[in-house]
Symmetry: D2
């Protein structure tokens, strides 16, 4: 029974994994600025992108919502400038970049933002995160005759808002939000208002900025930077911020805290891997945390010593995901061991290459090879310390190790800037099921993983040091480490208690 539930949950969560959201209010260039914002959030989702604008039609004295969304990268979806300048007119906009899923051909309807018509006019929504109590709500709504266009949890919220008997749109949204659980950083656009809402645990990042007289919301501050907007503060966990004409006049956003929890549960993986190093996330500079992570890993798991007179130990990064952590690791390790060198041992090609299978060749191997090449000269005959951010299934790590070996290194030492991932994520991170997580597999203990990967040693950062790295400057904040610990801070539908280490199916 639990197995079935788990499958169900995985299916749901896989649909709405981590994404990028953006919103802007009171700017004649709303669509173009949203385009740039989404471009900056491209790393949060490459499968699809979309923008909705609210345009006031003077002649008809009403608002029209314009929408354009499609599969593909932001620059492809909006490759025709006319879409931004002519079709997406309006002074308010929300946008969305969507993470890759196993997309069936009909999944075009799942691309966000969603746009609907309800009694209060137009309504559009962009959501990053994952709701955890959708099944019951969905069943209830369907029983009452509600039609669903998509299989996403995000659509649910729109129905809840539309069905609310409350008077004002603010109250409707708050009532709708009171029904849902899970992780959500949401922008909602109505005819004349923009709302930013974040779940009480603050699982996903969400920030507010200002550009002249315009208000901006984005998943990460890098989306403020690109349009020259100033970072004001985060949308706080359990907060709904409203922007409307009055706010523009007063300059003061309206804020409501709809729920307070004892301790936030920010997703620690945003620091480890997902967010850009140039962003401020959870009110903390990502690159600083990542550097501390590298330092702590160096303290817990220093590089090996050289064996003879030659300087034989090199520390390399996996570009670009472990660049910053590698700097931290090396600078700390070099204090204790002046023989080591920091080197560029892997070159990454940023041209995305299609991979065509040849007889007798492995598709995934070619995929790694179109992305990475080794710099033989710095690896050959060296003890190589490779810093990587995480091991999920282990397949990519293995292919990277195989690639390194073509340079005939003396030894390979794998240092991971996170603890072993042993439990799936129900709050938006695209991890596979427990069975596929190599660190959770019964048939593979650490020694066996090492053997399977073909490395001379493997070391993970401890959860304790990871948390220390993340909370260094703000000890009061809290993090979700469910993927490492199995401790799920937010209730998941249909389960009274989630067993430590996740579901044991």
């Amino acid at each position: 029974m639990k197995k079935k539930l788990n499958e169900y949950l995985k299916k749901e969560s896989s649909i709405n994994s981590n994404c990028g959201v953006f919103g802007i209010y009171n700017n004649p260039e709303a669509a173009i600025l949203t385009y740039y914002g989404l471009h900056s959030l491209q790393h949060r989702g490459q499968e699809a992108a979309g923008i909705v604008t609210s345009e006031f039609l003077e002649s008809e004295n009403r608002h029209r919502f314009n929408i354009h969304k499609d599969h593909g990268l932001v620059s492809n979806v909006f490759r025709d400038e006319k879409i931004l300048t002519d079709a997406l007119r309006g002074t308010a906009a929300i946008g969305h970049t969507r993470y890759s899923t196993t997309g069936a051909s009909d999944k075009r309807t799942n691309i966000q933002p969603f746009k609907v018509i309800f009694k209060g006019g137009n309504l559009a929504l962009s959501h990053n995160g994952n709701l955890t109590n959708t099944r019951e709500l969905r069943n209830h709504l369907q029983d009452e005759g509600t039609l669903f266009q998509t299989s996403t949890d995000s659509e649910l919220l729109l129905h809840l808002i539309a069905r609310s008997k409350k008077e004002s749109i603010e109250e409707k949204i708050l009532e709708a939000v009171s029904f849902i659980k899970g992780a959500y950083s949401i922008c909602i656009l109505t005819d004349d208002k923009l709302f930013a809402i974040r779940d009480p645990y603050g699982v996903r990042p969400f920030c507010m900025g200002k550009l002249g007289e315009s208000f901006v919301f984005a998943s990460e501050t890098c989306a403020l930077d690109i349009i020259n907007a100033d970072y004001v503060r985060d949308v706080m966990p359990g907060e709904m911020i409203t922007i409307d004409k009055d706010v523009i006049k007063s300059g003061e956003p309206k804020s409501v805290y709809f729920e307070k929890v004892e301790r936030y549960r920010h997703c620690i993986f945003e620091f480890i891997y997902f967010s850009r190093p140039d962003s401020i996330v959870f009110e903390e500079k990502v690159d600083k945390v990542r550097r501390r992570i590298g330092k702590n890993l160096a303290l817990e798991s220093p590089p090996p010593k050289k064996e003879d007179d030659r300087k034989r130990v090199v520390v390399i990064n996996v570009p670009d995901s472990s660049n910053t952590a590698t700097l931290g690791y090396f600078s700390e390790a070099a204090k204790h061991n002046s023989d080591i060198k920091n080197e560029i041992g892997l070159i990454r090609s940023h041209y995305v290459g299609r991979t065509f299978i040849q007889p007798g060749q492995d598709k995934r191997e070619m995929k790694v090879r179109t992305k990475f090449n080794i710099v033989k000269g710095v690896l050959s005959d060296r003890k190589v310390v490779m810093i990587d951010d995480s091991i999920v299934r282990g397949t990519t790590s293995k292919l990277l190790v195989d690639l390194l070996k073509k340079a005939s290194p003396k030894e390979i030492h794998l240092k991971i800037t996170s603890p072993p991932i042993i439990s799936p994520c129900y709050y938006g991170m695209d991890f596979p099921s427990k069975q596929e997580l190599i660190a959770a597999r019964k048939d593979k203990n650490l020694e066996e993983i090492k053997e399977w990967l073909g490395v001379d040693s493997i070391a993970y950062l401890s959860e304790e040091k990871l948390l220390e790295s993340a909370t260094n400057t703000r000890p009061e904040t809290g993090f979700c480490t469910a993927c490492f610990s199995g401790n799920y801070p937010i209730q998941i539908e249909g389960i009274d208690e989630i067993p430590k280490n996740g579901f044991d199916d």
Copy 2:
């Protein structure tokens, strides 16, 4: 006030004008056969096309609905064979071709079939026609918190079905249908059933066919012909036919008549112009009716006499829309006047050409010229009788007349195979508002229209003879002639009585 209503109605009706629908049940090639069916119905809508299939996933013991729809001709939307063979798997399918509208960029959501999820599983719908009481229903549903994805009336029916408290899907659909008024020929596909429903007045055509063990529904019989299916009978006005596994076993479709009216109100324009001449529509061969129309027009309005010894009167068709009627006109007229000749005076290019404006040139003129060219030799110095099907705004007729004049004909006599169009259509035909209908314009009596067009005479077929042509073999049947008479047989929302000759705004 009436003006506003009229505008509202026009806006609504312009969204859902005449279209083609198709459905098939119990065939492993459901998608490909639907593709061919839609290709045959292409003349009923060139803007967009779509197919939904119901696929039973054995391993998951559930049905999945696959969908593909897009702007463009059927052959473009389904240009990739894999869409039909791989993506659109399943043994039941419905399809739709959509008539051109002034499509805003966001109108992709308006393309049919619609596909939703409700408590009973999957649900998809294709609709030809136009509902006339949607405003009230829509308002009511929105007040109860229903979200609308589209601005079409077709979506309404889906909500009504989903919200029905009735037990069975048949009862739900019948309840939903009981709320709506207007013209509708509808295919509904559920996980395991296919429904064909037609409004009590039978405004739009709808037929049933059989292909081996498969049941087929289509707007016109030409869609049965292309897939070699046999025409069985029409879906009757006020009838709902259900096809499911039991029906396949028994070979007998289930039929329910949900409403009976005294007299049908078939759209007479299907005979005049819209349907294909090779179709059987309203249980009558279109080409036969069209030939009778031509004959009656010849009797009411014979060609002029030649003036001198040369055979100088030629009868020409406007290809391909008046081909059959011209044959009828000529064969009748020749009985009384052996001097006339039937000629091909206009050549139509079937390559659709984009029209690029040049300075000092009229776009519409170029459009006519990329479509038609004159055969000067048969027109020059002749009295030309041009048979055309109808005059709506008059602009195309004028451009055709201008084109003819390049051949320096002696005279031009315009014979129209329908009465003057003086009222808009609220049941699905894409006519403009009363103000744009040249025959309804206060500033243009018949003489003035003749002058404006630049012809030597103009003659319309009388409504009486038109009806006689259409009811020749089936005097008991009834037709809607609202566009000629202003007598609207089906109630239109918010109006107790529609004034004769329509709204006088």
Copy 3:
């Protein structure tokens, strides 16, 4: 040996079969007008299209040649208006539509117009027809070190021009032309001149028109009509017309007759099928000839008599190719047999449909069915006389007959408006090899063809009457009837004498 030669010739000729050419000089809208001209010539080639313009760059005091060409219909190749308005600037242009070939992926280079650079500047060429002595010339040029970009005979002429030692471009072209044999209607554009050249036998049509101060050349007059240009006269067989600035001033085109033959050899198939009925071709109205062809066929091969009291004989056309001939046939036959009726028995869909194969279904059958449907009511139980233009392989005729039979006609009588095709064409018409021509097959005499097609009778027009139809008003002119007679009027490379009835391989 002859077999090999024949294969070689077929291969060559298949590359350059019948096409449409267009040229215009001295018009600021040269590209747009060429676009419209090519649109009118679309029936002469649907595989590819292209335009080259000559633009004078004032700032650089030189001419630039702009080019755009691609596979596809004219409206697709030029679907982006900017191509015509921005990219293809200039006051002179030539264009080309290309007939379908078995195009290898690399055949993009074969699309015309060709554009090259030679010592005299830019040079571009559009060619309709087929050269018959290319092999020797090509070998000679290659031996001298000439590179060929294409496998077409048209490129040859460009090399001959470039290599000419003559002073003026006129002389160079004339010298080049003196080397070639075969059928050619050619537009050549240089930096500041436009040339129109036609082979001495006048195999392919070629006309000159005037639009204000601009000179226009086109394969058929329908391309003059669409741009409102006046037809002036034909480019005469063996004539080269030059248009340049002086000509614009004087208003008088320069004309040189480079070769005179005793008797022209116009391709009679242009009248039977290829040219549009609204064109004037070989100084004769196509529709008039086609009507006479129909009449003569009726005299030679009248329809059958009805058997009993009902009017049971119907004459039908194959739309649109036999429309005009059918009118001629019927009007003549009706004089002698008042019982027959002219009917529309086949409806043609002008939406080009892709054909997807289903298991157990024939692709070609579906292709015919997506193009034609029968009007059962006028065929059922009738003696059907179907007028068609020609029988090549016989496969399409057979599929049409099979289609007709679905209506259960009493009898089917096939009347062909041309004699049996027994020999391939080396001058540009896309006929298959002798082995594939059903009328040339040893294993099929007329009786056997009748049986194979499944018709009750089959009749061809005699060559004598065909020629009479074509020369009715101009007895002095001559025609090539090689496909019917095997008498090849223009020498074909490597053969001293072509045997009557072609090569007997």
Copy 4:
């Protein structure tokens, strides 16, 4: 006069700037392997790509050349797998990636490889480099009646080969090569042979590899790595290597040295910027040279000292072009100044973003901002040392400096890993004319450049140290440093002597 010449030369050279070439012989997967090779060489040209294969048609006992090329990235041009597997069959292939130019719409013909037919059969060519004596040769050939399809110098070579009177193809190529001057690394494919030819000065890199029984040629070794081929040796300056069936049997490539020069003139810019750091180029590991360059720059131009107790000096790279040099700079500088830190101050987005102009915003600024973002935390209040590879026009440097300033650094010190660029390149590097080179501008001395850029100091690497870095392990080799010195080692057409420091126009 010299000005005009210079312009001419620039125009020519801009057409054929640095590119990537690839060739493979004797492999059933020739096209797919070439695809991967080109993917690895994508950094050498992003404008267009193409592949030609030689396929032996057994049934016809002849070779067919298949070609596919288009504008766009390698993965776009070959996005359809069928192109590689079905269209590009054959066991030998050559490919090309083309650097961006100001492409007119007609420049499709300029995309390489070129494929032609000559008396010896098929002939195809891929060229990296730039010829310097094309004008005279081109004029001569045109005078003799040669047609040119393109405006590239590469086509010239094909004509020279075709026109050679020599017997064998080897001799023809060698004769053709004897006429040309300049920089060239060329793959030539004939029906059954593959040739690799490199200019006597070895300006551009060119290497040979082996993959099983197949021979491979590529601009850089990274293209060997991706297909797992082993690097054998360079194609040597002045060498032509021939691969044919005999070579496959013997395993020994045939080599001819057609010209020997005293000292090679490798393009030093390949080390500074153009080649990938994981390649071996000019028989030297690029990353090693680049690290030495960084070290030498640190010695010549160390970072500033910190001012007070805080560690305030940070060294940052411009990703990814100065990654390796920055490592070298930092490791050397840190030896002498332990206070400095290596930081990641700029984050590069590898999603190529289209840039849409907004009113009041600079397009180029947005372009830089879609590519780079700053990590404020590591820059703010610091003395920032930014290592960049070169300054050409200075505009990008200025935009980067402006971007850095948003983080309010204390100071900015710009360290360039190359000397000032003062002269254009006629051998393939895409530099602008002398007037646009900021270091060559009369109105800007070093102090003024510093001011204009807004930096606190600017330092270039000396030419001496640059050469020392490049020749460290191979002192005997020679480099072209014309862009820094104006000393052009290879004669340029029409000039007896190129003045030191280039043309003073």
